[in-house]
Symmetry: none
Subunit: 422 residues, 2 copies
């Protein structure tokens, strides 16, 4: 079954609201085996609404429209639908009584609104609104529209989501038979272009019904493999085979076969190996610690963070040798190494990460341009021996983006150190 | 001028991505005096793309399409446009050389993709991509489409936004004629509804050609006042009058009359008053330090950051009294006060911020539910005397959102301490 989502509301065309309703509907429909072919947002104008619904019903067997149903003057959806289908608005006593009983306290003032609110499109199956006021409707659009289905729901997310899950999805799932399966693959340390070079052959030989999508993020490239069809077994097999092939082709860059951030994977590895971590940051200014502690339960392995911006604090807090700073400069692997060692000792953690670099826009030089970061990882072995590794990473972008890419590179070093299990 | 936004990408139809690009484009276009009539999301399929572009170009004078331009095989937009307009893809040497010079290190493997990336639609004005790889394009669609304008941009937000602001909006503003003036007003510590209550009267009496838009962000509500017309003097006057009225009505919440984050305003106040700052963070895990150091030049006033998650580190590093921790618990104003004092002393800064709270999802209690944070600010006066203020702030949301709101509340305390000059 093919579907379209029509989101109604001026606020979507002025950019005042991000259309999260559409994302919710698309993922719920996809999970129910219904492919959404278009999402359209149009204004609160009666002509625009009826025009768009006519267009969408002309293309798709199922159209879900949200918005413009509340009991306020600027709601035009019901009138637009009546005009489009040549129907009347009829009073629904059940809806009215349900709302009056819930709003009796302010009934007097609300009565007329509640009456208006209880007017539904003739011939529709009314969907009760357990959260708010406005009722939803499911309509068979009749011969003119090849008996295609139209679902009307309020634009308030909580109301729409509840209606969708409780009343609409069961009906839809019954009508459609298909299956859709997704696998998310998260990578780090490789750009979209290079990654495409690695998995290009797989893309050329994708089984029918399976697609591979690149979802580039600021910190790394994510892949999504989607398979659809009628036979669940075959769909899941196709998806698994492609996912495994990609994982092998991009080995060393894939940190998760699910939609989870790098800091969460690092956290899982630390927990499973009963290790603790600390961070000493210069150019990332606390972002590495902040990302590590974005993970629920990170207090189980995160020990301490130090943000040491100045040379004085690098020396004073972490014991970086003034000679090292003088000889190599603050942005150097030598300093990154001493920062990591000092952080390990000070915090008593098993692993310490360090970052020192040039986030920009100023501060760059010929040998250390903006976008350069030196990274360190110090680790205390079972024998108590401390081992230190350092590396240098380069990127380009705004100060914020550089900080993010720097923090990703630091977390990637921890991930590689702890074992790239995924 | 009437416009349509076409967002291309399967991930928008599967619900894996919320269409934030469309919201950005709508608000920028609206501010430029261009009304968006429809936003359409369609899949990465060549037929769907060309079909949708034909439909949109049939309706609107300006169509902005994002997505499907990256140098990977799931990108179909360029081919679809060529087919629709009967044009060829031509090799653009400038684009190629710009990308090769940036990716020379791994050129060998990437070369073919970079070539592919440098193919642009014949007859288009190429828009350089300062952030990523894929070039954008501006096209006159020729007689068949009444010489309507088509703009192609990548789907990666950072790349698209940079192209839009630097290259596309100036051209659009010029074509749409007239003068457009914006004032951005940034607020903190007040929600959209309460803010609307304060400025409602102003909204009801806006002069013609002037609009007030709410741009809610995770950390606070931003307002944008846009005025357009032919007479620059009148447009600027109208905009200024409304902006001043809003600033007065929302006094105490407005931290900037420009589009600048709170950490930048705090930084300016610190610089102008020649003061330094440090942060001691528990629940925010380094986010306060990270935000302070997001600002270019922050090394001029940021001294040090401590991320002290455990009670041991609060005591060991910042000298929080075990008795205080035992008597009041880690999440208490008493502990926030000692953290701030310890941080001030340790770092030698003039001002120290501290955060200790419950970011969630676990760890909440009846008296200290998830979303509770205790904040401290310690300041060394000219006489060397140390003064400490503490407060408790509550919010509700995901762990990440709570951390962000906590960090915003901490920065807001510093802003109020340093003088709410704007």
């Amino acid at each position: 079954m093919r579907a379209e989502v029509v989101s109604i509301g001026d606020e979507l065309l002025t950019g005042q609201k991000v259309n999260t309703n559409a994302a919710f509907l698309c993922s719920e429909l996809g999970a129910a085996g219904v492919a959404v072919e278009r999402v359209v947002a149009c204004g609160d104008d009666e002509d625009a609404i009826s025009g768009q619904l006519a267009e969408s019903l002309g293309r798709s067997e199922l159209v879900l429209a949200t918005g413009g149903l509340g009991p306020t003057r600027d709601d035009r959806t019901k009138r637009a639908v009546c005009r489009l289908l040549g129907r009347e608005l009829v009073f629904d006593r059940d809806v009215y009584e349900a709302t009056v009983s819930r709003y009796s306290d302010r009934a007097a003032s609300a009565a007329s609104n509640l009456r208006h609110n209880a007017m539904v499109v003739e011939g529709s199956v009314v969907i009760a609104n357990a959260v708010g006021l406005a009722p939803g409707m499911m309509l068979d659009c009749g011969k003119t529209f090849g008996n295609r289905q139209l679902v009307l729901m309020p634009g308030v997310p909580a109301e729409m989501e509840e209606m969708m899950r409780r009343s609409v999805l069961p009906v839809i799932a019954e009508r459609s038979g298909g299956v859709i399966v997704h696998t998310h693959i998260r990578t780090t340390g490789i750009g979209e272009t290079s990654l495409a070079g690695l998995v290009g052959d797989i893309e050329d030989r994708l089984p029918g019904g399976t697609t591979l999508a690149y979802l580039p993020h600021e910190a790394g490239v994510h892949l999504r493999i989607s398979s659809s069809g009628d036979d669940r077994g075959a769909v899941e097999r196709d998806n698994r085979v492609v996912a495994e092939a990609v994982r092998t082709a991009a080995a060393g860059y894939v940190y998760a076969m699910r939609d989870v951030p790098l800091e969460a994977v690092v956290g899982e590895l630390l927990l499973s190996q009963e290790l603790t971590i600390s961070a000493a940051e210069s150019c990332t200014g606390g972002l590495v610690s902040s990302r590590l502690t974005d993970v629920a339960g990170s207090s189980g392995y995160f020990r301490q963070g130090y943000v040491v911006y100045s040379n004085e604090s690098k020396a004073g807090i972490l014991g970086v040798e003034p000679e090292t700073l003088a000889a190599h400069g603050a942005v150097s692997e030598a300093v990154a190494a001493e920062m990591a060692e000092g952080c390990l000792e000070k915090s008593g953690a098993d692993i310490a990460l360090s970052t020192t670099g040039v986030a920009g826009p100023g501060g760059g030089s010929a040998t250390k341009p903006v976008g350069t970061v030196c990274l360190g990882l110090a680790r205390r072995g079972e024998d108590g021996e401390v081992s230190v590794r350092t590396s240098t990473f380069r990127t380009r972008g705004s100060r914020r983006r550089n900080k993010l890419r720097f923090s990703e590179a630091a977390l990637a070093i921890a991930w590689r150190e702890l074992g790239t299990k995924e």
